[in-house]
Symmetry: C2
Subunit: 114 residues, 2 copies
Amino acid sequence: MPSSLDPAIAARLKRDPAGLVPAVVQEHGTGEVLMLAWMDNEALHRTLTTGRATYWSRSRREYWVKGETSGHHQHVRSVALDCDGDAVLLTVDQTGPACHTGTHSCFTDELEIR
Amino acid sequence: MPSSLDPAIAARLKRDPAGLVPAVVQEHGTGEVLMLAWMDNEALHRTLTTGRATYWSRSRREYWVKGETSGHHQHVRSVALDCDGDAVLLTVDQTGPACHTGTHSCFTDELEIR
């Protein structure tokens, strides 16, 4: 879909067949990995220009400003592409829990290593 | 494809249309996010049973034990699913640089927030 994302950035971004890249969200200060969400060009554009983490919801098929309904905002401190341009790392200041289940991080289901 | 992954874990994993989930790799101790790779059921099974980070290469279409050719191994300390079961977080002890470009982390291309 058309987007206002800087063409120089769009050219470095390698999207999957659905036009998305995974966005890893890390908490500033603690370094905790809070969640993983998805971005298309427009979500990245909105994130970079507003400083508020904005994702594409694959299930609801709509843009989603983190905290818009929950109040659990993410103020974005930095955004970095990886070496292949197919993933994004955000560092954020997280208000409240990042996870919709109420936990600070979404990664709480630890698997056993044998 | 068939896999020996514990069916109880496989049932909790929500794979994309290509059968993959993104795996975020975080360094134990420093908390640095090193890279993002992809896993199918079998890659997760091999990771959990060997303790060596094993991914699915989307470009080469083959399993890939991190460090097998570079020597830059990842010894896996923990593996956690997120709340939706559609992403995995690994914490690892990283030998050498994680990135094939020679940098410690793959996320070196910082974008400007305006």
